[in-house]
Each structure stands twice: as structure tokens, then as C-alpha cells.
């Protein structure tokens, strides 16, 4: 099954072309032009990974990352930025980002990172399901 990706960037041209390239590589891509729009889309759908621009008008990527991870700690977020300062990189990792890639990003690097994100999410979802089954077994006394 294709990885479900949400690509978030305020540069419409970038969004359109990169999403086209990602789809050509077998990914199921949705797009959002703002952090607010991204939060609304994540609320409605399930994604394997969110590729998020760090600097956007209004709510920036770090704040969006904080909210996304608060709502769903299993969701994997890859930040994409023009320039990453050490401080922002450290902050992004503290807030649970999988990685921080610099623009212009190599499509193969991005694809590998998305595969890593998807695999990590799958492990977390499986672990959660396993815990739930264990709880059910324990509660039933089986």
C-alpha cells in the first residue's frame, strides 16, 4: 500500500511540483499551504508522515510540529527548511521530529526518509495494538 504523506509548504509552486514527483514514485500525497490547513487535514485523515516546512506565515513549522505530536505521538514529521540553525534543529528534535532536511532536498533522500517514517510509525502502531491486546487479555483473566 502506498505511503500516505501530507506535504506542507506556503510556496504553492514547490508544493505542486514536489507532490507530482512524489506521486510518480508511488506515494499517496495530500498538500496544505499553511500549518492551520495541515492541522485540519491531519484531524480528518490518517497519514504515515508529514513533510513540514519550518518557516511559514502565521503558525510556523515548530509550533505545528508541537501540536501534531501532542495530538498523535505516533505521527512521523520530517521538517524541510531553507536554512536550519542549530537551535531550531535541536528544538525540532526535542519536539519529536524524525529529521530535518535542507532545501533544495534530493528526492531520493526524501523518499528514503519517508520510508523510514512509515516503518517507524508502523512499529509504533503495532506496539500500541499489542499493548491493547495484552490489556484485554489481562482484563478478561485469560
Amino acid at each position: 500500500m502506498a505511503d500516505k504523506i501530507l506535504l506542507v509548504d506556503d510556496e504553492a509552486e514547490f508544493l505542486k511540483t514536489l507532490s507530482e514527483r512524489m506521486r510518480a514514485r508511488g506515494m499517496d500525497v495530500s498538500t496544505a499551504e499553511s500549518a492551520k490547513d495541515a492541522l485540519a487535514k491531519v484531524e480528518k485523515g490518517t497519514f504515515d508522515a508529514v513533510v513540514l516546512d519550518l518557516q511559514m506565515p502565521g503558525m510556523d513549522g515548530l509550533e505545528a510540529l508541537r501540536i501534531l505530536k501532542e495530538r498523535d505521538p505516533k505521527l512521523q514529521v520530517i521538517l524541510l527548511t531553507g536554512h536550519a540553525t542549530v537551535e531550531k534543529g535541536v528544538e525540532a528534535m526535542k519536539r519529536g521530529a524524525l529529521d530535518l532536511l535542507e532545501k533544495p532536498a534530493n528526492i531520493e533522500t526524501l523518499r528514503q526518509k519517508i520510508e523510514e517514517a512509515s516503518a517507524r510509525r508502523l512499529v509504533l502502531v503495532s506496539q500500541e495494538a499489542e499493548e491493547k491486546v495484552k490489556d484485554i487479555i489481562a482484563s478478561k483473566g485469560w
Binding site: F14, T17, E20, R21, Q55, P57, G82, P104, A105
Partner: protein, 231 residues
């Protein structure tokens, strides 16, 4: 202990650094778009090699998009060059309208990232003043950074320019929501020093929420002369 020239130099370097960071970020965005467009063209070539027909209309759109981004990048670099050259001469006769517009262009992305739009209401003709162009750019940048940097709820900062007798004025209305923090900034030693170098004054009307900066038309002659003032 820092001397006055040290403080001014530090403020100038800080502003230069901030602007350069913002410009380089914007250029990176331009490069990122060009990278994706070129990458998609490569994808099309690879697909064509496997027998898939080329979508000529999509290729035209991509080349148009690339030309648009090259134009955008060129404008950014031109503005950056103009900005860098404002530091060439300690004192110079310069167009105040152009200086303010340049400051706003340099600061545009940073402000936009914070959800603030900055507009300049130009008088429709140049306003030539003899001043310290880079110190003035630094002061305007510091004020804009402050106004756009805090959560004052200002969606649009509108800058007006005009003459009052021989003096040039830069006015910014609609700042009532940030009266306290703005008054604090204006009382800072850094702003006071920058104003002193420019022989300028700033008045802030708490009631009306308007900021007015007054600059001499000719800094060398004091406040009595304005070389570029229209007759």
C-alpha cells in the same frame, strides 16, 4: 564597556545579519522550486525513454515556472545588492522613499512569516535627503522587526512619507495595541543612539497610536535645509 560607536556598529551588524539570513532563506526557496521543476523534467525524460508520451503543455508550464522563479531570484539579488551598497558611504544624499521601500522589501519575508504585511504610502516623487543611509535602514529595520515580532495583532503596518517644512517625516499610524512595548523600545539606549546619529526625533502618540519620525532634510546643515524638498 561599549562606546557609542561600538553600539551603533553592533546594531548595524545585527541588522545586516538579520536581513542576510532572511534573503538567503528566500533564495533557498527559489532554488528549491527550480530543483523540483528541473527534477520533474528529468522524470518526464526518463518516462519518455520508457515510451510514455511527453506532456508538452506541462513542460511549457514548468519552463514558465522556472523563468518566473529566475525573475524572482534576480529581484532578490538586485535588492540585496542595493541594500549592501547603502553601507558604502557613511553620509550620502539618498531618496528616502527608496530607502524605506528597500527596508520593507528586505524585511518583507520576515514580516510575512509573522503574518504581518508592510505597506509604504509613497508621495509619488523622490524625497532626497542627506543622511546616514545605513544607520537609517538599521533604525527602520529595528522598528519593523519590533512591530512584526510581537503578537500585537497588527495585520498591516502602513508607512507614510512626507515633508513637514524642511524636514522629512516617516509616520506609522494604527499602533495603539503596542503602545507599551513600543515606548519601551523607543526609550532604549540603542534607539536613542541611532536617532542621535541621524539627528532625528521620534514621537509616539499613545492616544492616537501613531509613530512619527522626523529627519533633517540635510543632516550636515541641521534642520534648516532640505536639498530635495520640492518647491
Amino acid at each position: 564597556m561599549s562606546t557609542e560607536p561600538d553600539v551603533i556598529g553592533q546594531e548595524e551588524i545585527r541588522y545586516f545579519g538579520k536581513v542576510t539570513a532572511s534573503i538567503s532563506h528566500e533564495l533557498k526557496n527559489v532554488l528549491a522550486i527550480l530543483n523540483e521543476h528541473a527534477g520533474l523534467l528529468q522524470d518526464f525524460v526518463a518516462m519518455a525513454a520508457q515510451g510514455r508520451p511527453l506532456d508538452v503543455e506541462r513542460i511549457r508550464q514548468l519552463s514558465d515556472g522556472m523563468l518566473k522563479q529566475i525573475g524572482r531570484g534576480d529581484t532578490i539579488v538586485r535588492n540585496m545588492n542595493r541594500f549592501a551598497h547603502t553601507a558604502d558611504h557613511e553620509r550620502a544624499t539618498a531618496d528616502l522613499v527608496g530607502l524605506v521601500e528597500l527596508s520593507v522589501q528586505m524585511f518583507g519575508r520576515t514580516a510575512a512569516a509573522r503574518g504581518v504585511t508592510v505597506q509604504v504610502q509613497t508621495p509619488g516623487q523622490p524625497m532626497m535627503i542627506a543622511t546616514h543611509p545605513f544607520v537609517l535602514e538599521t533604525l527602520i529595520g529595528k522598528l519593523l522587526d519590533h512591530l512584526a515580532g510581537k503578537a500585537f495583532g497588527i495585520g498591516t503596518v502602513s508607512i507614510g512619507l512626507g515633508w513637514r517644512g524642511p524636514e522629512a517625516q516617516i509616520s506609522v499610524p494604527g499602533l495603539a495595541t503596542c503602545a507599551g512595548p513600543l515606548a519601551e523600545l523607543l526609550a532604549s539606549d540603542e534607539v536613542k543612539l541611532l536617532l542621535a546619529v541621524l539627528d532625528a526625533t521620534i514621537e509616539f502618540s499613545v492616544a492616537g497610536g501613531a509613530l512619527v519620525m522626523t529627519l533633517p532634510g540635510n543632516i550636515d546643515a541641521g534642520r534648516a535645509n532640505a536639498p530635495g524638498k520640492p518647491a
